[in-house]
């Protein structure tokens, strides 16, 4: 079947197209060139006055894995306020802060998103992460495997194993967990908390291994680069949420010595200690460092006011944050000498000085970083806010007068501590398309996604241009996933199953000999039972794997 999308204004940064009126042809799930000679269009959509972008990609969203399910179980009262009934074509579930898997897929699609990436896949919990993501309809998905507090890596670093050995272990772990990237959370700190350390700075040693976060970051970032993984090491740094942590973040940027690094939810790592409340914005300094260091990419982790729940691998910082739990109930877990997690409900309030300034810090960061190809739109769902708040966030970025109206309502002391009112920048549609589409696809290394030129999969979102950007981005006219129309007027009309994106870096199989002995001696599972097989993703007939090339591969 040949589909034509006619006359829309196309925003396709991947091809350098910025609002030109252009027709798009779809056949067999992909975008194709206009056929030559005589041809018959089977289905045409008149998109005059509409805005056309590729499907949006959320490059950091907690949509699969144990901590998310703990968050769900912890908050029945939150679900009760947002029940989602079944329809003839959709399943029932719940929404708000941590929606059920089916509702996650529907609501993302209804906002024009067609892919989401879980940033904290613990190797030992990767099966659960993939099983949950397998129950998210419509979206493509993938995960970054979490390393850096795992005993095996830490003992390798203690023993000063060479980089090649680390690379082999990283590659093995990525394949065992079916990942497309590598994440590190509070490097070495999750482990340190199990030894009763309550904080860990960039150059502070883990008391058992004698290894510092700086060493862990360097070895993992080097491994990612040398293995040819497109997505840079994805870093949730030290000292999350601690006033003054902007210096840790700036030191981290210097420490990495030019290696590619993605600093995630940087808003939570951009705090100074100035002012009467000893809490201030470090956004300007951080943005300047990002602008200067082209090897650095960031996503923001914007907070927005209201109830949510924070779910993180960072058991050390989440334990410290439990004092702010609202409602007052929280969970931490130490996990398998591999990782950990912490789940703490939060209610961000605009009349709370710290929360109000966090809000402003995130927006300052968005507006002060020059290059939209190196910054990504996230709330670190659900940690800063549920993903359903993205259209509101887009309006804050694109509409200065709206932004300043909201700014005038937050805690007055916070208003005094931010430069936000003086920042004139408004994001353009093209910049939004870069952050949420082309840039994200490029950063993750997704082949044939995030663009609208021929050869791409037909993941396409069509909006009605509207000066109220929140209304515009809340309710796309059409969303196509792999060429199938899944959303009309902001409602799911058809469901399908997306693919799971992975990379398959090579490793020296001899590392498995050591690992097998190690598993038998210390762990609770046989190595053979630890590795996730391809079958586990595909055997239900719905899932599929899409393997993306490594840097240096011949396409």
């Amino acid at each position: 079947m040949l589909i034509r999308l006619t006359g829309g204004a196309v925003y396709d940064p991947a091809s350098g197209i910025d609002g030109a009126k252009q027709d798009i042809y779809i056949q067999d799930g992909r975008i194709v060139d206009k056929p030559s000679g005589d041809f018959k269009v089977d289905k045409e959509y008149d998109l005059k006055g509409k805005v056309v972008m590729s499907g949006a990609i959320d490059m950091h969203t907690h949509i699969g894995g144990g901590k998310g399910n703990i968050a769900r179980t912890l908050l029945p009262e939150d679900h009760r306020a947002d029940p989602v009934a079944r329809t003839d074509i959709t399943r029932s579930g719940c929404g708000h802060a941590m929606p059920s898997t089916f509702v996650t897929g529907y609501r993302y699609a209804e906002m024009g998103y067609t892919a989401g990436f879980e940033p904290a896949v613990l190797p030992i919990n990767a099966r659960q992460a993939h099983m949950e993501m397998a129950d998210i309809p419509i979206l493509d998905k993938g995960g970054y495997v979490l390393m850096g507090s795992d005993d095996y890596l830490l003992r390798m670093l203690t023993a000063k194993k060479d980089q090649k050995a680390i690379n082999d272990y990283v590659a093995f772990t990525m394949q065992a967990a079916k990942a497309i990237g590598v994440k590190v959370v509070n490097p070495g700190g999750i482990s340190a908390f199990k030894f009763n350390q309550r904080k860990l700075d960039l150059d502070e040693q883990n008391s058992h291994y004698g290894v510092t976060p700086r060493e862990i970051l360097k070895s993992l970032a080097t491994a990612v680069k040398e293995l040819g993984i497109t997505h840079p090491l994805h870093v949730h740094g030290c000292n999350l949420g601690v006033p003054g942590n902007m210096n840790t973040t700036l030191d981290t940027i210097q420490a990495i010595g030019g290696l590619p690094l993605h600093l995630t939810h940087i808003q939570f790592h951009s705090y100074g200690t100035e002012g009467d409340f000893k809490f201030s914005s470090g956004a300007a300094a951080i943005a300047e460092a990002v602008n200067l260091n082209k090897n650095i990419t960031i996503d923001v982790g914007q907070i927005l006011f209201g109830q949510t729940v924070t779910a993180s691998g960072d058991n050390m910082r989440q334990f410290a944050n439990h004092k702010h739990a609202s409602p007052n109930k929280w969970v931490t877990m130490d996990i398998e000498c591999d990782a950990g997690c912490g789940v703490v409900p939060f209610k961000y309030k605009d009349k709370n000085f710290v929360n109000a300034l966090q809000w402003a810090i995130g927006l300052e960061t968005f507006l002060l970083v020059d290059d939209p190809w190196r910054i990504f739109l996230t709330t670190d769902h659900p940690n800063g806010a549920p993903f359903t708040s993205y259209p509101h966030l887009i309006r804050l970025l694109m509409d200065r007068s709206f932004r300043n109206d909201v700014l005038s309502t937050i805690h007055p002391e916070a208003q005094k501590m931010t430069t936000l009112a003086s920042i004139e920048r408004e994001y353009s549609l093209q910049e939004i398309a870069i952050m949420t589409r082309a840039g994200a696809a490029r950063l993750i290394g997704l082949q044939d996604r995030g663009g609208l030129s021929a050869g791409n999969w037909a993941d396409i979102t069509v909006y009605t241009d509207n000066a109220d950007r929140q209304l515009m981005f809340e309710k796309p006219d059409y969303v196509f996933k792999d060429g199938e129309l899944v959303v009309v007027d902001g409602k799911v009309v058809h469901t399908k199953w997306g693919t799971t994106h992975v990379v398959k870096p090579d490793w020296d199989v001899s590392v498995e000999k050591d690992l097998q002995k190690y598993f038998d001696r210390f762990l609770t599972m046989k190595l053979g039972n630890f590795k996730i097989s391809d079958d586990e993703i595909t055997e239900d007939g719905r899932g599929s794997l899409t393997v993306h090339p490594l840097k240096g591969d011949v396409a």
Partner: protein, 420 residues
């Protein structure tokens, strides 16, 4: 005859995956690393292979059609048992969503003690590899750990090597409440567990006093539940002196009213210890026959644990009202679907309502159900996934033999399709 190694078990909850099983046709023999829980569960012979309607052998298609017909005009069917693998639960929840059923895991009344505590105040918990490598003091509250899980001590406490302990034999084990039924808790060095017994109904008082002592609060009595306060003080001191204590309990063993408060006291005590500058973690026991699996899959599918009703068209959780036995006793259900792929002895409650059983081959019934469909057991007859008691690790279950029995998900998906 084939021999399959590294077989994971869905029966014991602790995720043993080192069994060696001999397969001869459809008969299995555990030849290595069996135990009193796993060996009989694996070795149970297949008896029924054909579905029955009204006691008569029929084809699977006929049984599925009959089940769908029975469900067609119901207002509130109950799907009880919920003892199967991840794919089985996925299909079960799809059927419940379509038919407006109540979903209720058979062990939920026990697990409720944990969920109510979790949903009120939370906890700090750990997993089995942390226990194996880090735990220097194990406090067992109100449970007979070795009858729950015969190989727990061998695998996770008396392991020869550990990452962080020089001599695992020097770990301390303390029982509070119940005494151990055997000697598994005695260390290889011969050091016996300390045991402080009390009646089950005194456990709330005993743990409350222990928590108060951990916090340094004064206690004005000399004994509680027959246990000297000085003994509890000694336990509190050990908990505060340990580097990484683990406190374990079995929610189902706390069989008294409002036992969730005991779980909450224990869990809050663990938090208190962590606030007094050392580490401690909880470890709730469970995970047998798919109970953790049911709650996990229901959790991500609905937001709620597996005692959830779909009659309104969307999931509604109620840990009391959605109890199968309550619904049957009060006449609030109009059909029963019983799903139990692991344990042939776990038969449905007897009822006069239309009853459909999707069960492990070998079930015998006091009253023949309207429909009985024998299914394969996950981890024996088909591959699958099950969650361990620590809720983090999903084990990959293997297919060991070709029995021709359908899986739970095959059957429930077929019934769901036929209900459309």
């Amino acid at each position: 005859m084939a021999e399959i190694t590294e077989v994971p078990s869905p029966f014991c909850g602790i995720g043993t995956d080192d069994l060696t099983i001999q397969v001869d046709g459809v008969s299995l023999k555990v030849v290595k690393n069996g135990c009193a829980v796993n060996t009989p569960a694996f070795e149970q012979a297949i008896t029924d292979t054909r579905p029955r309607v009204d006691g008569k052998d029929v084809s699977l298609d006929v049984a599925v059609a009959k089940a769908a017909a029975l469900l067609k005009n119901t207002n509130q069917p109950v799907i009880g048992g919920c003892a199967t693998d991840v794919n089985g639960m996925r299909a079960l929840l799809a059927l419940a969503d379509r038919s407006g059923a109540v979903v209720d895991n058979m062990n939920f009344t026990g697990a409720r003690n944990n969920f109510l505590a979790l949903q009120d105040s939370g906890w700090m918990n750990t997993t089995l590899a942390e226990v194996k490598n880090r735990c220097d003091l194990l406090l067992v509250v109100g449970a007979d750990l070795e009858s729950f899980s015969p190989r727990f001590f061998e695998r996770y406490l008396w392991n020869e090597e550990s990452m962080f302990l020089a001599d695992t034999g020097k770990r301390e084990v303390i029982y509070l409440g119940k005494a151990p039924s055997g000697a598994a808790s005695t260390s290889p060095n011969g050091q016996k567990a300390l045991v402080f017994e009390c009646a089950n109904e005194d456990l709330p008082d005993v743990v409350a006093v222990l928590r108060a002592l951990v916090k340094g609060n004064p206690i004005r009595v000399d004994s509680v539940g027959g246990i000297a306060v000085s003994d509890l003080q000694a336990i509190a001191d050990k908990l505060l002196a340990a580097s990484y204590s683990v406190v374990t309990w079995a929610a189902g063993a706390l069989a008294y009213s409002q036992a969730e408060l005991t779980v909450q006291t224990v869990s809050e005590m663990v938090k208190d210890i962590n606030n007094r500058n050392t580490r401690s973690s909880g470890l709730p026991l469970g995970g047998k026959e798919g109970d953790q699996t049911a709650n996990q899959v229901c959790g991500w599918t609905t937001g709620y644990p597996a005692r959830t009703r779909f009659a309104s068209g969307f999931p509604e959780y109620d840990p009391y009202l959605n109890d199968t036995n309550t619904l049957l006793a009060n006449g609030e259900a109009d059909a029963l679907v019983w799903v139990q792929a692991f344990n042939a002895k776990a038969v449905p409650p007897t009822t006069n309502l239309p009853t459909i059983v999707v069960g492990r081959s070998g079930m015998t019934f006091a009253k023949e159900p309207d429909v009985f469909i024998p299914v394969g057991t996950p981890g024996i007859d088909h591959a699958g996934h099950a969650f361990r008691l620590d809720n983090v690790v999903a084990i990959r279950l293997k297919k060991l033999r070709d029995s021709g029995l359908p899986s739970t998900s095959d059957v429930l998906n077929a019934i769901e399709q036929a209900c459309r």
